[in-house]
Amino acid sequence: MFKWLEKNLPKIVMAPAVGLIGWFVYGFVLWTLYISFTNSKILPKYELWGFGQYEKLWASRKWLISVDNLLVFTALFLIFCIVIGIILAIFLDQKIRAEGVLRTIYLYPMALSFIVTGTAWKWILNPTLGIQKMFIDWGFENFTFDWLVNREMAIYTIVIAGVWQSAGFVMALFLAGLRSVEDEIVKAAKIDGAGLFTVYWRILLPMMRPVFFTSFVILVHISIKSYDLIVALTQGGPGISTTMPALFMTQAAFHKSQVGLSAASAMMMFMAVAAVIIPYLYSELRRENAR
């Protein structure tokens, strides 16, 4: 008995983690999947109902708007975060004075919650007393900046705040990547007469492929999950113009008694994330095994 215990102690110590994750992650995802095949309203019901919820979901105008917003947001969020992140990383890499201070400034938004960020940006962007008033007081009398309350433009305020929060993070990833390249490579290129621009464009950035890949995966992941920022900044409004899947899901589940429908939307989000993450994990593992 004692021998057995000693031999299996490592596995016994592992058990809580494996059990908890097995139940609370995998078990719960399957449970949600099951609910999505039922006709649950206020509370989960357990008679199967087929794909009805998915049909309802893709016929729902609100869901289609959510998906549309997600695509727009993800595209802009990705482009701006990566471009700003790379520019900052390359510029910071030029033996800059006060690099530490600048880096701290670029990255501090990551330490704040999206609720704090959203509250701040909501105040800055509000048309009555925010940026608009600032410009009008400066003498630009016809200046208008009402994106926050404008159906067409409100989604872009979420992009502004989201990029502000996450661009520094991409900067940190690329800076770490650039710093890990050996000096010899850059020196050799310079001896061959390559200018600084060529060195970065032709040599260093192509070497950053894994970092691009990582940033892409993380940013897409953040954007599919984005919920807090929308709640704090627009609550999905004006109207439903800035709603997104994560918001759709919680509203359907906890405010509208559409439990089955919300489970279906959650599964769509799950599949979207899985489509990005599984290839990523696979390639990461291959890289690790190759080492």
Binding site: K11, V18, L112, S113, V116, W123, F270
Partner: protein, 301 residues
């Protein structure tokens, strides 16, 4: 003569490249400082707004300097106005968050350390699959577990309680903490452990005598990461708690949304700063570890 000419034109060229270099240098700093002001702008606006009176806010602009150091709105945000019902303020929710964060960080870090230790130093058949199994938990969109979680917390009788939130944050922190410790312990030479085993040291003795003493950096990284994540969480807090058990981010959001009469932006901003200050302090004091967690938690999580 000829020689002289040549060298003077060369000098000119050199001079020119010196100027372009200087120009580039200035351009570099200009861009960097421009971005720095974009990043610092909201924080600046938050701080000055929180120090103004509503009158000043209406008169001035976002950027205008407050007339004095007026901490009234901070006092209101923290302790309320003292008129009972409908008077929401952050103090009780701040303590809720502390009561939630401390145990959740402790448990998830401990479990992660143990799991990472087994996965690297007591390897068994299929252990890399177990790691992958746990790792996937870093990525799931939490929407896919909200409904069952709500049912489960209800069945356990801990819905709308801090205990419930501790459970939720502990469980969903495990994939990250395991990842951190596993990647750290992988680089600790296994020979050390083998030698100790030959000397007759057991499972726990090896952990406490050999690995734990060298784990300080990764413990700091993990604790900071978990602290930041849990403190800043809104989704779980807003879904599984309401009223008096709510953590601070939920309370902040309620305060900002629910002011019924006149909008008090100065109090809103003071509240936002109070809710953000703990993580900001950790970031400023231990930025190095924060970034390390961010990049390694990210590169694979």
């Amino acid at each position: 003569m000829q020689d002289n000419l040549k060298s003077s034109s060369y000098q000119q060229l050199e001079q020119k490249s010196k100027y372009t270099n200087m120009f580039l240098r200035w351009f570099l700093y200009f861009v960097l400082i421009l971005f720095a002001s974009y990043f610092i702008f909201p924080l600046y606006v938050m701080v000055v707004t929180s120090l103004k009176t509503m009158e000043e806010i209406r008169q001035g602009t976002l950027l205008s300097w407050p007339s004095g150091l007026n901490f009234d709105s901070w006092a209101v945000a923290w302790g309320g106005r003292g008129y009972g019902a409908g008077d929401t303020f952050l103090k009780p929710y701040f303590w809720n968050s502390i009561k939630m964060v401390v145990p959740a960080v402790f448990f998830s870090t401990f479990i992660g350390a143990m799991t990472g230790y087994v996965l690297t130093k007591w390897r068994f058949k299929g252990d890399s699959w177990v790691f992958l199994f746990l790792l996937f938990g870093c990525f799931i969109p939490f929407q896919a577990i909200l409904l069952p979680m709500a049912r489960t917390l209800g069945a356990l009788g801990i819905s709308n309680s801090i205990v419930g939130l501790v459970l939720v944050h502990t469980v969903y922190g495990i994939p990250f903490t395991t990842l951190f410790f596993r990647n750290y312990y992988v680089s600790v030479p296994t020979e050390l452990v083998k030698a100790a085993r030959i000397d007759g040291a057991g499972f726990f003795k090896i952990f406490f005598k050999i690995l734990l003493p060298i784990s300080a950096p990764i413990i700091v990284v993990t604790v900071i990461w978990q602290f930041t994540q849990i403190w800043n969480d809104f989704l779980f807090g807003s879904t599984f708690s309401f009223g008096e058990a709510a953590p601070i981010q939920v309370a902040l959001n309620n305060m900002v949304l629910s002011s019924t009469s006149v909008k008090e932006y100065n109090v809103d901003m003071a509240s936002a700063i109070i809710a953000g200050v703990p993580t900001l302090i950790v970031y400023v004091l231990a930025g190095k570890y924060f970034i390390r967690g961010l990049t390694s938690g990210a590169v694979k999580g």
